[in-house]
Each structure stands twice: as C-alpha cells, then as structure tokens.
C-alpha cells in the first residue's frame, strides 16, 4: 500500500492535516463533508489523499447529507468520517442520533469555534462540549475524545476509528480552531506500527439474524454488512434484536436503549483516558481538556514554584465521563479549578463528579483566545 504522505517519520503539520492523515492510516476510506471554517483543511486533505488510496471523498450538499452519507458508507463496509464545526455539527445531530440508534461505527470531527450561531468562525472555543455529549435527541450515549496537541489530534483520530469499530458506535473527536490550525511536529507511524481494530462481523447465519442482539454477551452485536447476503433491515425506529420495528413496546425500547448505553458504560475503563500531572500530593487540582490543558500544565509548574501544591487532570475522553474519579480527586484536594473556553460546560460535569467533596470553581474565558498560564495561576492564588 502506497501512502500519499511520508510514513515512519515526523512531519511539521497542522492539526487538521494530522487528523486527515491519521484517518487514512486508521483505515478510513470514505469521507463526506461540507466545507466550514476551521475544519475545511481536513476535507481538503481528504480530497487530495482519498482518490490515491482508492477511497472516496465527496462534497455533499450540506452537513445533514454528509452525516447521512458516512452512515450509509459504514453499512456498506467502509470506515467513514466527516468533519465540521459547531454550526455544521448542529445540523448533523439528527443523523448522529440515527448512528447511535442503529449502532453504526462512524467518526465525526467537530473543530470548535466561537458560537452560538455563526459566531467567531476563525477563533477557537470549547463551546460544543454539551453539544457533543447531549446534542442529539432522546436517551443515548456515544464517545467523545478531546486532543490537546497536534500529535494527540493524530493519535486520537486513529483511536476514534478503533473505538467506533470496537463498540459499534459513533465517536466524536472534539477539537478546536487552535489545534486545527497550529503546526507542530507529529510522528506519522508506519502502517505496521498502527493498531487497527475492525468491527465484529457475524460468524454464522444465527448471529447475522440478530444484528441488534447480544450474541456475545458484551452488548456489542456483530454488524452484518450490506451485500453479503444477510438481508439486514436497519431502522432508526425502536427495533428488536432482529431489527424489526417495535415502536410501542416499552420493554423492547428499554432493552435496546439500555444496551446501547450500557455497552459503553461497562467498558468505561477501556474508553476513558486521562493524563495526570503532579496530582499525587496535590492540594489544588485543575481539571481541563483540549487546548486549555497546555496552559494548565504551565500554570501547575508556576504554582509549584510559588509553593502551591497544584496538579492537573487532563481529560482525553470527555464522554463517557469518569464521575467516580472526579469524586476521588475531590476527596483528596481542597479545591478544583476548571479552566475552559466557554462559560461553563465541563464545569458542570466536574461539579457533579466532585459531589460536594471539594469546591469547584470555573475559570471561564470566551472570545477566541486560550487562557494564559498566568490567568489560571492568578485565579488559584487569588
């Protein structure tokens, strides 16, 4: 297999480019999108690379269509991705819910910019945390990953595909304009170095007849791909294990929705990822995600120099959320600070997790700029 970019070496590239290259190394062969700042460079890179690796890149008429197309492609057997920003992500929510309901592995990249509405197209924000987790309608669960560097944007994209395939679920890669447009040194591995997980396929006719069942007891049914003779019916309506609509049966609905949510809940340890920095003896903790974590690392160093025992918990997965871990942290420290580029979204989750065991304070910043380390330090030392 020939790649249209250098592999097995480092390259100096921006976040959007890193996501595109990672997707291709991660096995993505179908991209459908609609241009939007600051995610367009992902599409442009995919447009350049996809035909060369015998994949598809297509510009759809809107974001609803892009999301729909990748779900269709996934049922036809392809690993598929789309990328957008806040306003486009809103349009995708309808079909994102369809992907949850039909347990379709797809990857959606949301490069956050300032909102609501068209807001600040070229500036970074973290205002879509709630949208990523709760944007679609109904009871549901999906996976949300959040990188803080260009290298992480690359690594988490590959992980996003693997988690999508492993758990038959949509995965949102939630990044922002800062990471998307920043250039950093990124190691692009050889294909052989990349762990690739493929979806479980039915092993026999019996499994194929239960595309929404639980034949392996792990909550993740094997996925019968179209065109292989299984004659699978896929519907966004409440359906039984065989995929037959059962829209007024409370028991069927409850069983289906609970399994979809629980297949992620019971695998929290595999899905949830975080980095702890100077937390062992910390008396003050900073909990952050994405680009802000980089200022937070520096803030912790400065605080330590000032004699404040500070530490950082950087969340790489924001959903499923590890409420227990936050409670444990809250039991250890006196206070938790949550710096984020919005008026309080991650804050609510952290506060719920802390469960009153420590005070939780929001350090909000909006307008397009990342917190400086000193802005965090000053809030902590008062």
């Amino acid at each position: 297999m020939r790649y249209p970019f250098p592999v097995g070496k480092s390259d100096f590239i921006q976040g959007d480019e890193a996501i595109a290259r990672a997707a291709i190394l991660g096995g993505c062969r179908f991209y459908a999108g609609y241009p939007i700042t600051p995610a367009s460079e992902i599409f442009e890179a995919m447009a350049l690379y996809m035909p060369l690796v015998d994949g598809v890149s297509i510009q759809m008429e809107d974001e609803l269509a892009s999301m729909a197309a990748i779900i269709g492609a996934s049922w036809a057997g392809a690993k598929a991705m789309t990328a957008t920003s806040g306003p486009g992500f809103s349009l995708m929510q309808e079909n994102l819910g369809y992907a949850v309901m039909t347990e379709t592995p797809v990857v959606v990249v949301d490069v956050q910019r300032g909102g609501p509405s068209t807001g600040q197209p070229t500036l970074a924000a973290q205002g879509d945390i709630m949208q990523a987790i709760w944007g679609t309608h109904g009871d549901h669960s999906l996976i949300v990953l959040s990188p803080s560097t260009v290298q992480e944007a690359f690594d988490f994209t590959i992980r996003a595909f693997n988690l999508a395939e492993k758990y038959r679920t949509p995965v949102v890669l939630l990044t922002d304009a800062e990471i998307a447009h920043m250039r950093e040194r990124v190691y692009i591995p050889n294909p052989g170095e990349v762990e690739i997980i493929d979806r479980k396929l039915p092993e026999n006719e019996e499994e194929a007849r239960l595309p929404f069942g639980d034949p392996h007891g792990d909550g993740v049914p094997p996925m019968p791909i179209f065109g292989r003779g299984y004659r699978t019916y896929v519907t966004g309506l409440t359906h039984d294990e065989r995929g037959r609509p059962k829209t007024v049966d409370a028991e069927v609905h409850e069983k289906l929705i609970r399994r979809i949510i629980e297949k992620l809940e019971r695998n929290r340890e595999d899905i949830i990822s975080y980095d702890a920095f100077e937390l062992d003896d910390a008396e003050v903790a900073i909990v952050s995600t994405g680009i802000v974590s980089r200022s937070a690392v520096r803030a912790v160093k400065i605080l330590r120099e000032k004699g404040v025992k500070a530490g950082l918990l950087k969340l790489n997965t924001i959903w499923p959320f590890d409420f227990d871990m936050i409670e444990e942290l809250a039991g250890q420290v006196n206070k938790i600070y949550v710096p984020e580029m919005n008026l309080g979204q991650l804050y609510h989750l952290v506060k719920e997790g802390a469960n009153g065991k420590a005070e939780v304070e929001l350090i909000a910043k909006i307008g397009g700029e990342v917190h400086t380390p000193m802005e965090i330090v000053e809030r902590v030392v008062g």
Partner: protein, 281 residues
C-alpha cells in the same frame, strides 16, 4: 408480458414475519411495490446485491417488508444515505422508495443534488399529494385547491412537478404513471433498474384515508377515476394549449438518456488523480 401470480412474487420477496403491512385499505403503495418486485424478478436481479433505502413516511416502510438489505433512515435523507452506500460499494444496486413529502419537501435539496450528481440509484416515488402517515397534511405536490389538514380551505401554493424537476436536474431516466398504469409502470421500473445513473419512476398513488376523505374521494376507485381524469399522456399533452393543461398532470416517459453515472465519474476521477500525482501512467 407473462405475469407471474402475485403469490409467487409475495413468497419470493416479502418478509412473511413482517406482514401485514401498515398500509390502509385502498392504498396504492402495495401496487407500486408489486411492480418494483415484478421488475426485479423479470430482470433476474440478484436479491443479495440490492439495497432498499428510504426516509420517513408510509412508503418509506417498504424496505421493512421486503427481504433485502434495507436502510430505513431519517425524514428526507434517504438519497444522502444512499450516496454513501453506493460509493462505498458500487457493486450494490440501490432502490429508494420515497413519498412525495419525503423526497420533494424535507428531502428536496438531497433530491436535486443526487440527480445533479447522477447518483446511480432508482427512485420509486409515491405521490399521493399528502402526508399520509402524519394524517393528511398537504405535500408540496398538492395541486392548487386540494385540501389537507394544514390547508383546510384548499392549497394556495403552487405544486412541484417532481418529474419535470428531475428531468431539468439531469436524471438519466424519468417516468410518471398512476398506479392504474400497471404495465407501463413495470416496464418503466425495468428500464430504470437497467440504466446507470439517476432514474426515477413516479406513481400517482391513492391515499383514500388521509387524502381522499378530505377531497371527496373516499375510496381508491374514486381516486383512480380522478387520476384518469387529470392525467394526460405526454404525446397528447404536447398538442394541447397550456390553458387546457391547467390542473392536469402529464404522464409518460420524460427522459431517457445515458449520461455517465456518479460511480463511473468517480472511478475516472481516481484514475485522473493517480495520473496527476505521477502514480500511474
């Protein structure tokens, strides 16, 4: 044409455990479905290589009743889902079963762009001038003066002519019949399924319960008689002055051409890309 018995078609292609269908007495969807299955049967197409796609509405429940791979999606988006399926696996043949509200209102944008791309797909479009599943609201195809629950005093907007739209947007094959025209219907679907690119067969289809009742046509025969009255064959329509065609619906074959389909265009594009990058001669 030799017509197999309906039982044979039913037994071969329907999921028995899904019957009965949700369709009301006098509904025309079953007829259009039967014509489609007969066309598939006559052409000897492989059941495992066809995917049925649909959006939301009565006709969109069809993929659940047929024993094929099927994707029953969100309202209006069937053709966008189909774009992904077809491009990800061009070996699959795709049939989209759509209603007029689904295809022309909420899905209007996807419809014109799928046609513009010449997406390789056959659309069977059920036009009953109404939103049947949600109880009889007016559809964008409703002729002026027709009543629906959201236009209780008679539709005041201009209707969409879907077939006309499809021809202008560039479809390779476009035909319109009422479900009364069964032989023309089957033949049109056969032609549509045999061609590359975007093909569309529209059926005027009775909805006595949600539509007919509100428009003084309580039964399917009354609706069929009305179709006979308002439809004009294409050849005859060409000779009629515009004022006489007012309130009439032209039926027949409106387009039959062989522009390259999206799959072929993309294959050529991939070759061009590799050549431009110096990967291939």
């Amino acid at each position: 044409m030799y017509l197999k018995s309906a039982y044979e078609i039913r037994d071969k292609y329907l999921r028995k455990d899904m019957l009965p269908t949700i369709f009301c007495p006098g509904c025309g969807i079953g007829s259009a479905l039967q014509y489609t299955l007969r066309a598939i049967d006559d052409l000897g197409l492989n059941q495992d290589e066809i995917v049925w796609v649909s959006g939301i509405g009565c006709s969109s429940r069809v993929p659940g009743f047929v024993n094929f791979d099927g994707l029953h999606t969100t309202h209006g988006r069937a053709l966008a889902f189909a774009t992904g399926i077809k491009l990800a696996n061009p070996d699959l043949k795709i049939i989209a079963f759509m209603g007029d509200g689904d295809a022309a209102a909420i899905g209007g944008n996807h419809l014109i762009h799928a046609i513009r791309r010449n997406l390789d797909i056959t659309v069977i479009l059920i036009n009953n001038f109404t939103y049947g599943m949600t109880g009889g609201q007016v559809a964008p195809t409703a002729l002026k003066g027709l009543r629906g629950t959201t236009a209780p005093y008679g539709q005041f907007e201009n209707p969409f002519d879907i077939a006309d739209l499809a021809v202008s947007a560039g479809a390779n094959y476009v035909a319109r019949w009422s479900v009364f025209n069964y032989l023309q219907g089957i033949n049109s679907i056969k032609k549509a399924l045999s061609k590359e690119g975007f093909t569309l067969v529209e059926f005027l289809s009775p909805c006595p319960i949600s539509f007919g009742r509100r428009n003084r046509m309580k039964t399917a025969p009354e609706l069929l008689r009305w179709y006979q009255k308002i439809t004009v064959p294409l050849a005859k329509a060409k000779k009629m002055p515009p004022e006489e065609l007012e309130g009439k619906i032209v039926i027949g074959e409106f387009a039959d051409r062989d522009r390259p389909g999206l799959v072929r265009e993309y294959e050529a594009y991939k070759k061009r890309a590799k050549k431009m990058m110096g990967w291939e001669e």
